[in-house]
């Protein structure tokens, strides 16, 4: 049996569906008296469908190719950068974090041209600040 993308995701969804049905939904869905449809009916049915479909996919996979793992690792790096950005925004505010976040993203992409860097780090955050706070009268994160 060869390992391919569908076997991995099929196995995951099969286990996910079962875990939802047996462990998560019984704990995190409150029961209620009355009504024609219990609160846990739909999530339970959906979980069973996911588990069965995952099992079928595991047994009958297509020729799905996974994206380049190196590219996926790079994506993981950018996700961490954004998580750090959100955390920093919660502490220091958008005005201070946005230029740094924009600089980090542009720098990691490979941008070194000063004019474009200035545009991305200074002009764009300023334009967003102006549009949101001055024109729309709303607050920034």
């Amino acid at each position: 049996m060869t390992i391919n993308a569908d076997r991995i995701s099929g196995a995951f969804f099969c286990l996910f569906g079962l875990a939802m049905y047996f462990f998560v939904i019984p704990v995190y869905v409150e029961t209620a008296e009355g009504g024609s449809l219990s609160p846990n009916t739909m999530p339970n049915i959906i979980s069973i469908i996911i588990a069965i479909s995952g099992g079928i996919l595991f047994l009958k996979p297509t020729k799905q190719q996974l994206r380049d793992p190196r590219k996926m690792a790079i994506t993981g790096f950018y996700v961490l950068l954004l998580v750090a950005g959100i955390y920093a925004m919660s502490r220091f505010g958008f005005e201070y974090v946005a230029p740094v976040l924009a600089l980090a993203i542009m720098w990691f992409i490979g941008e070194r041209r000063p004019l474009w860097l200035i545009s991305g780090v200074v002009l764009m955050p300023t334009a967003i600040w102006f549009a949101v706070t001055q024109l729309l009268g709303r607050g920034l994160p």
Binding site: V29, S53, V79, G110, E111, M124, L136
Partner: protein, 500 residues
């Protein structure tokens, strides 16, 4: 159902200067972002939705429609110049547009794309305006049992048509429904799957899920591709001959049957949920090539090739709104985003919309027609500028788009909690796309989830839990049989494809 006075009032609302300015702004923005490879109108709509909060409903929806329509025109620019479609819809346009650009006629190619796009779009809008009200009257006769059957049919079609595997389509739809069940259940209003986060009591915020899945996940993918390389500016060749910079009336008129065929294909396919504009464009292109006396000239810069692709892919946009406005079922991600804009403004799309908000619906129709004219006008003036836009580096585009998403979602959800949810769904969207799961099905199922469950609950109440009563409704029974037939048919097709 809707009287003439309401229709006229709606159109007059649409033609007010205030609304026209928003349509204009939407079209300009749409053409601009469409011209940028990697952004596209869907991402632009997703980002723009939170910024429409402060607007009245009609200008907000008209603005988003303008972005969607403008994006299709703009998407042809990188397809023609770089052979890199700004939107998947424009992939067929590149087949003849790019060879024409290489011959030093980029403006001729982009202008043909513009004219045929506006022609196809206008055709489908007229069909939408003509058929949606009568269809809504029929839809109003449907009860919850028929609605449940209709949704099951829509899910079966979506799961089978989008992607390469019915099983994966079902998983994507089920996952969307599961995520939609987070919050309170529609019958007893008890909390479900909120894991102690009371911010989730009203369910997951639509903007966070939509922007995370559609915009951020795509940006993350594009960032990984762009990592370490900065996009180089392209050089656009031009012959210098004025005739090569324009499309003459004779050239346009010679493509009339091609555009009509494309518009009909786009309208028919657009009215069915799940069949996107990319499929319409390629089908129209193939049929035009097959019926041509010079099929060998296709792929070498034939104007008919551009006209076929663009008229079809643009015709899908208007037709996508037929199931949305008459049944409340979005046929595409663009339509799903428009649904979310409706819901954000407190409206539930569906047949009752004509009865309760007739003036708004006809205002939307008026705005759509005006958007076509504005699209033509802005395209004529702006194509030269959009040709320059394709050379903007991805570094500034993606960093700016990310900041806009952060701000937009924060505004829509009142804080960074919504932004965190957005990032979670961005990762989920990226992983799903990496494993070949359709985000379109997920999003549509997520939007329809609460209504689906509510309709099931109502059906059970009406039938006292006796499911055999469903078969007493001929419409519901027919739809369920059709669902079963389509599932079997798609399963057989999948098996054949995988064996081939």
């Amino acid at each position: 159902m809707v009287d003439l006075a309401t229709i006229l009032a709606g159109f007059s609302d649409a033609f007010s200067l205030y609304n026209l300015l928003f349509v204009l702004f939407g079209v300009v923005l749409g053409q601009f972002v469409g011209a940028v490879p990697g952004i596209g109108p869907i991402m632009a709509m997703a980002i723009a939705i939170p910024f429409t909060f402060g607007l009245d409903t009609l200008p907000a929806i008209a603005f988003l429609v303008g972005v969607n329509k403008g994006g299709l025109v703009g998407g042809a620019v990188p397809a023609v110049l770089m052979n890199t479609p700004g939107t998947p819809d424009a992939a067929a346009t590149a087949l003849d547009g790019y060879p024409l650009a290489k011959q030093g006629k980029p403006l001729k190619a982009t202008k043909m794309a513009l004219f045929s796009s506006v022609t196809g779009d206008t055709f489908s809008d007229i069909v939408l305006i003509t058929v949606s009200a009568p269809l809504a009257i029929l839809a109003l006769r449907m009860g919850p049992i028929e609605i449940v059957a209709l949704m099951i049919f829509a899910f079966s079609i979506l799961a089978g048509l989008i992607g390469n595997s019915l099983t994966k389509g079902i998983i994507a739809a089920a996952l969307g429904l599961l995520v939609a069940s987070i919050g309170t259940d529609p019958e007893n209003f008890t909390p479900r799957l909120i894991f102690g986060y009371w911010d989730l009591f009203n369910g997951l915020p639509l903007p966070s899920v939509a922007i995370g899945m559609l915009a951020i996940s795509e940006i993350l993918h594009r960032l990984s591709l762009a990592h370490g390389s900065v996009g180089a500016a392209i050089i656009v060749k031009d012959t210098g001959n004025p005739d090569d910079r324009r499309v003459t009336w004779v050239e346009y008129w010679s493509c009339r049957y091609t555009m009509l065929r494309g518009a009909v294909i786009g309208t028919v396919l657009g009215a069915l949920p799940g069949i996107g504009s990319t499929a319409a464009a390629f089908m129209s292109y193939s049929m035009t090539k097959a019926s041509s006396k010079e099929p060998q000239s296709f792929g070498k810069g034939n104007l008919h090739g551009i006209a076929a692709a663009e008229s079809a892919n643009s015709a899908v946009v208007g037709a996508n709104l037929i199931p949305l406005l008459t049944l409340g079922i979005p046929g595409s991600v663009g339509a799903a985003l428009i649904i979310s804009a409706f819901m954000i403004h407190g409206l539930q799309p569906g047949p009752l919309l004509f009865e309760n908000q007739g003036r708004l619906v006809y205002g939307l129709f008026g705005a759509m027609l005006m958007a076509n004219f504005i699209n033509l006008w802005v395209g004529q003036l702006g194509l030269r500028f959009w040709i320059k836009v394709v050379s903007a580096p991805e570094s500034i585009i993606f960093s700016s788009a990310l900041l806009l998403c952060f701000v937009g979602v924060s505004m829509a959800t009142s804080g960074l909690f919504g932004v965190s949810i957005m990032l979670i769904f961005a990762v989920l969207g990226y992983v799903m796309a990496s494993f070949g799961y359709s985000l379109v099905i997920f999003i549509i199922a997520f939007f329809l989830g609460p209504r689906f469950e509510k309709s099931i609950a109502q059906s059970l109440s009406l039938t006292n839990g006796d499911l055999t009563q469903v078969l007493k409704s001929p419409v519901a029974a027919a739809l369920l049989i059709l669902s079963l037939v389509s599932v079997i048919w798609f399963l057989r097709t999948n098996v054949k494809d995988n064996q081939g």
